[in-house]
Structure formats: structure tokens, C-alpha cells
């Protein structure tokens, strides 16, 4: 049990609320790209802040709160994926974030084939990210979503900078393949002429 003194707890209240303002948005986006469901992403961010609040007494002032929050979130996501069996999701799975996005075919503004193309690539990419193994997803999202430097990512994940670079490179190559595979359907390429 975390036994805060009254003074310490008031500090935790204000510090945690500051952290909500500073970091909740990027933590949400990180979670969303991993679990592909808005409600789950929100719940995971909430779990993260409550855990941080409860464990605040053990947080060393001067250390990096963002890294600490990320670590709590990453563990919560791992638990979540394990519990929901989502780590076994295949690329064909439809119950994801992008399937909830408006269907471009039903939108009057998206008649352009280019837009349609982008939409399908987006969906493929989102599924790809959600399905990336943790060790590749973490550096990628810390870079793209949380905007951390290579050094910060290396420190946070306790891996050398060279490993950060090679994992980023492999993740991006894999994701490009996934995006490209989806968009190379020849029947789709001629779809624009029908309208």
C-alpha cells in the first residue's frame, strides 16, 4: 500500500494534473495506434494516470515523468493485449480503428481516386502498426507520436542507439510493404473510371 502523507498527496494531485495537461494527448495517441480502439485507448491512459498517482511516492523528482508514464502505459497495453488476445489479431481483422473511420466510398468529397488510395493505405498501415511486435512498435511510436530523440528512446527502452536505428528501419520497411501490398490491387486502380 502506498501511504502518502497529506502534504505529499496534495503535491501528487497537482503534479498529476499537470502531467495530464502535458502528456495525456500523446499517451492516448500512442495507445490508440496499438489497440486500435478509442474506448480502450482512453481506458488505458486513465489506468496509467491512476497507477502513476498511486505510485507517485516512488517517483524520484528530477527523473523524466514522460518516460515514467510511458513505461506504465506500455505495461498496461501489454496486459491489455494479453487479456484480450489481441496480439493474435491477423491483418484481416476488421474490428479496428480504421474500420470505424468513415467509408471513403460513402463520402461525397472522396470521389478522387487518390483519396481512396490514401484511405486504404492508411487502414493497412494502422493494422500493421497494431500488429508490430512490441520491440519494433515501441521505438517507432516513441519517435512518431511522442517525438522523442534517438537518445531518449535508447535510454527509455534500455537499448543502444544503434538498435533504435535498426529497429526503426526494419519497422518502416515492414510497414511500407504492408501499405504497398494493400494498394497494389489492380481492380482498384481502375475504379476511378466508373464514377
Amino acid at each position: 500500500m502506498f501511504a502518502f502523507g497529506q502534504k505529499k498527496k496534495d503535491t501528487a494531485d497537482s503534479v498529476l494534473n499537470d502531467w495530464v495537461k502535458q502528456y495525456s494527448r500523446e499517451l492516448y495517441q500512442f495507445a490508440l495506434l496499438r489497440v486500435n480502439k478509442r474506448e480502450d485507448a482512453e481506458d488505458l491512459v486513465q489506468v496509467t494516470f491512476i497507477k502513476a498517482y498511486r505510485a507517485y511516492a516512488g517517483f524520484r523528482s528530477g527523473s523524466n515523468p514522460r518516460a515514467w508514464l510511458y513505461t506504465i502505459l506500455a505495461n498496461s497495453i501489454k496486459d491489455h493485449l494479453r487479456r484480450s488476445g489481441m496480439s493474435e489479431i491477423s491483418l484481416e481483422d476488421e474490428s479496428d480503428l480504421l474500420s470505424q473511420l468513415p467509408d471513403p466510398a460513402n463520402s461525397p468529397e472522396t470521389a478522387l481516386i487518390e483519396k481512396d488510395e490514401q484511405e486504404r493505405q492508411s487502414q493497412a498501415l494502422a493494422r500493421g502498426i497494431a500488429n508490430l511486435p512490441e520491440q519494433f512498435a515501441a521505438p517507432l511510436l516513441l519517435r512518431e507520436v511522442n517525438d522523442l530523440s534517438y537518445k531518449e528512446i535508447a535510454d527509455l527502452l534500455s537499448i543502444p542507439i544503434g538498435t533504435v536505428m535498426s529497429r526503426l528501419s526494419r519497422a518502416r520497411n515492414a510497414l511500407f510493404e504492408i501499405m504497398n501490398k494493400e494498394s497494389s490491387d489492380p481492380t482498384r486502380e481502375k475504379a476511378g473510371g466508373e464514377k
Binding site: 500500500m1 502506498f2 502518502f4 498527496k9 501528487a12 494531485d13 498529476l16 494534473n17 495530464v20 495537461k21 495525456s24 494527448r25 492516448y28 495517441q29 490508440l32 495506434l33 478509442r38 474506448e39 480502450d40 482512453e42 481506458d43 491512459v45 486513465q46 489506468v47 494516470f49 491512476i50 497507477k51 498517482y53 498511486r54 496486459d79 487479456r83 484480450s84 480503428l97 480504421l98 473511420l101 490514401q118 493505405q121 492508411s122 498501415l125 494502422a126 502498426i129 519517435r143 512518431e144 507520436v145 530523440s149 534517438y150 536505428m165 526503426l168 528501419s169 518502416r172 520497411n173 510497414l175 511500407f176 501499405m179
Partner: protein
């Protein structure tokens, strides 16, 4: 790079492309890389690939805006947690008002259900206090917000927003949905106690009522959760038990072999009015 063979230059460049796109190179290094890209379509292709992935991720994030209510909900959750931890010291005593009899624990004070007595009176019965202590741990540990940190003999699994059939499958007993006016389900916990008993906690939150953070609905097979010093009223021919837990109102009824126990900082009357349509 000028003095290297073309193949080696390309290899070096490939390694730097990601770093350049991630703003990890000095301006000199970047300029050198750009010079090579202008003259080498293969490396240019690699650059475009990485750029497409970066742009794609950015595009997804732009299409999926962060919900406007995110910060507000988080602050509310923290405020609730703050209140809970402030109450933690006194909660054990307050919990004496509600008794959960689990396997291995004595069924306590059987006649108290019908007994109208002073709810602030706390029994000195040692057994009862031990049970209340145990109860405090279990209920205190069933926050929908977090995994268990306090309960030594139980395991709390946050399972998202589940109720009804989904939760019934997890719990192994009938878990019922509740209609509570403008309150809606925000989180569910499955609490597993070492002796095998399970308890479900559903948290309902209101968008409109600023006074109250949530109404928690504990569910367990009939007879598992007992309110001590409860008063009984009858609604639609069914018995509704009312009590207090600290400053919170407690209302309980039994349906489909399940005890539903509502705990809320609302007044007794308000809580009962919200629970009524379910009975």
C-alpha cells in the same frame, strides 16, 4: 562519401536516411546525404519509402483527433482517486457497515438485515471486525481504474466496459446491466478472491451530475454480499435493502440469483430513485 565506391556510399546513405528524416543528423550530414539523393534514384526510393510511412502515421493521427473530453475525464478520475486515498485511512472502519461474507468467513450478524439500528454503531465483535477488515481490502481494491495494489488475497482485473452477457461469461454468475438515469457504464472489474469467489464491480459515471463521480455496482451470487444494519423497503413487491458505507449510500436488491449492491455519494433518496426502475 566522395571517396567511397558507389555501393559503399549507398550503404552509408541508407543508414542515414531514417536519421535524417528524424532530425537526428547535423545540417552538414544532411546536406551531404541530400547531395547523394539527387544523383542516386535507388537511395531516393528508400527516402520516399520512409517518408511515406512517416506521412502515413501523421495522417492517421490527424484523422483520429484526441477526444475533447480526455483531459477532463482524467482530471475527474484523479480527483476521485484522490478522494479515495484520503478516505483510505478511515475506510476500514466505515466498511464495517457493509459485510461481504466469502467462503471461509463466518456469515455474520444474520438478523441485522431486518434490524433497525444506529448505523454509526460499530460492532466490537472480533470476528466481525476481521471480516470488515477483509471486506475493506476487497472493496477498496476493486477500483475500475487500476490493477490491485492493496488487496492481499484478491486479484483485480480491469476488463474495460463490459456488462451483461460478456461479464457473465467472465464471472460465472449472472451479471446484470443497470439503468441509472443519465449515468453510463465507464469501467468494469472482475475481482477474484484466492478462495475462488468472484465479485464484479461496475462503475457508472455521469456526464451531467458534477457532484458525483460514479455509482459503483458490486455484483456477486446471492448471499455473498450482506449489508449490516440495513433497513428494508418494498418496491414492486421486491425487497430493497438500504444502508450506509461511510458517507456513501448503499442500496441492494437481489435478482436472477445475484445481489446487486449500489454504492454512491448521492443521497439515499436519490440513489434509491435511480435504482428503482431496475427492481
Amino acid at each position: 562519401m566522395k571517396n567511397s565506391s558507389q555501393g559503399e556510399t549507398c550503404r552509408n546513405c541508407r543508414e542515414l536516411i531514417g536519421a535524417a528524416l528524424d532530425n537526428e543528423l547535423s545540417s552538414g550530414e544532411t546536406a551531404e546525404l541530400m547531395g547523394h539523393l539527387d544523383s542516386c534514384p535507388h537511395c531516393r526510393e528508400e527516402w520516399d519509402k520512409f517518408l511515406a510511412v512517416k506521412a502515413g502515421i501523421k495522417n492517421i493521427l490527424e484523422k483520429e483527433p484526441v477526444p475533447a473530453h480526455l483531459e477532463k475525464n482524467l482530471s475527474a478520475a484523479l480527483a476521485k482517486e484522490s478522494g479515495r486515498s484520503k478516505r483510505r485511512q478511515s475506510i476500514t472502519m466505515a466498511m464495517a457497515a457493509i459485510l461481504v461474507a466469502l467462503t471461509g468467513l463466518a456469515f455474520l450478524n444474520g438478523k441485522s438485515l431486518t434490524e433497525k439500528s444506529n448505523s454509526s454503531k460499530i460492532s466490537s465483535n472480533a470476528k466481525e471486525q476481521a471480516a470488515a477488515q477483509r471486506l475493506a481490502e476487497i472493496v477498496d481494491a476493486t477500483s475500475h481504474n487500476t490493477d490491485n495494489t492493496n488487496c492481499q488475497d484478491c486479484l483485480v482485473n480491469f476488463v474495460g466496459r463490459k456488462a451483461g452477457d460478456e461479464m457473465t461469461k467472465l464471472a460465472g454468475f449472472a451479471v446484470l446491466d443497470s439503468k441509472l438515469g443519465s449515468f453510463e457504464l465507464s469501467g468494469s472489474d472482475l475481482v477474484q478472491v484466492k478462495d475462488g469467489n468472484k465479485l464484479v464491480r461496475l462503475c457508472y459515471t455521469s456526464k451531467t451530475d458534477k457532484r458525483v463521480n460514479c455509482i459503483d455496482v458490486y455484483q456477486a451470487p446471492s448471499g455473498t454480499i450482506t449489508i449490516a444494519q440495513a433497513t428494508e423497503i418494498e418496491i414492486n413487491g421486491k425487497k430493497l435493502r438500504q444502508g450506509k458505507i461511510g458517507r456513501q449510500a448503499v442500496v441492494q436488491y437481489t435478482a436472477a440469483g445475484t445481489d446487486l449492491t449500489f454504492v454512491s455519494p448521492l443521497s439515499q433518496e436519490e440513489l434509491t430513485a435511480l435504482v428503482k426502475p431496475n427492481v
